[in-house]
Symmetry: C2
Subunit: 239 residues, 2 copies
């Protein structure tokens, strides 16, 4: 099971304190935190210890630091969230920005597979968002997005979803998506793919199965994307 630490460095405690403040919305996205010095004074530790924590949170992309200005809550703006987790591009080329087109939202009981994937109770409900996205005016990608209804209450009442849901999760629900696990495989286009993506039945389709995790390791979203594979690739750099 979990390790008994028996020893807990000071910076770990400071880390937990600051993460809690961020999660509980002590500062809004884009807002600046107090300076290192004032945080150090308030928490009764040295500036170096505060710095270590702020650097770690910056590496996790929860904060942004700007020399000469201050430390800010990172904003999952449309642009940034898109390029962070949207991995579709032209072969060898620059990132693409998809446009949204048709979209449908409904709330319903979670299916068994969804309960298993998202660690939900037997009677849990989910919000399902399905949408098609265009690249250069052509339908290129179809997404089925499932989120537990209780963590995004009222989301179905919105007129339209933003292009990147993750900025909505952050600003309206205080949920920071910090990691995603993705599994990619190939399939043949079905009749539905033909209808939605305008590809021939039997042509190759890239399927991306993504689980999105919040700062507290909570499973927030299950997303399955079907992408036409002519002239598009899933691009990632591993270090």
């Amino acid at each position: 099971m979990t390790e008994t630490p028996g020893y807990r460095p000071l910076y770990r405690q400071v880390y937990d304190i600051l993460v809690n403040r961020v999660v509980q919305g002590a500062w809004r996205p884009g807002e600046s935190l107090p300076s290192e010095q004032s945080l150090a004074k308030e928490l009764g530790v040295s500036q170096g210890t505060v710095r270590k924590v702020l650097d770690a949170l910056t590496a996790e992309k929860l904060l942004e630091r700007r020399q000469g200005k201050g430390t800010y809550i990172a904003e999952h703006t449309q642009e940034r969230a898109l390029f962070r987790f949207f991995k579709i591009s032209r072969p060898g080329g620059a990132r693409l920005k998809p446009e949204r087109t048709s979209e449908a939202v409904k709330v319903r009981a979670a299916r068994a597979a969804e309960r298993a994937k998202l660690d939900l109770d037997r009677d849990a409900r989910v919000v399902e968002i399905t949408r098609t996205r265009l690249i250069d005016g052509q339908p290129a990608l179809h997404e089925s997005i499932v989120v537990p209804a209780h963590i995004v209450p009222g989301i179905e009442k919105r007129a339209a979803m933003p292009n990147t849901l993750y900025s909505l999760y952050q600003t309206d629900y205080g949920i920071n998506i910090v990691a995603t696990h993705e599994e990619v495989h190939a399939e043949l286009a079905s009749a539905a793919d033909q209808r939605i993506l305008s590809v021939a039945v039997g042509s190759p389709i890239l399927v991306i199965d993504r689980l999105a995790l919040s700062l507290q390791e909570r499973k927030v979203e299950w997303r399955v994307s079907r992408v036409r594979s002519d002239g598009l690739v899933y691009a990632v750099t591993l270090t």
Copy 2:
């Protein structure tokens, strides 16, 4: 173009010095470096500055640190290199360890596409390694690997390649692979795929196009892998 720094922190210089020593083989993989204190003394900087650099190199997976013992050159052992860059797994499941089967090595002139991809001269030669790998005894994956001949001289004379080439690059040629850029797309199985992977022509195939970069950003290897897509996925966690 490149930025004129105009200002170069001390730790950057220390970083360059230590990277050069590692690259030039001052210590063998698995060997320990001098302690922080002695490095600091030798280089005429404080221990804190040396520590900052050693931590950075550890994050780049070039070094490993063990409390109470020392700092070591990271070994690209078979196991570790495999799990670091081999991203094929069962859906939702644990990593798989592929076995190698048939293999062919030849040296030949670089093709135009290869010269472009690897930044090679017009008359450059390359080593091409093609091999098929098994998972659970079944052919699952076929790789075509192209490396500039001048950076791995004599590699074609080896009796057999190791399961992970990256450990060979490190131990025999002093090349540390620190990053890969991969592009994944879907295709339909060709007649060659049918022969090599025992899949029906027209079934879905996952194609992975990988460029491997060394510590000095040198393009070391271009690898194209064709993977049967039944019961296998390309799995990656983004943070």
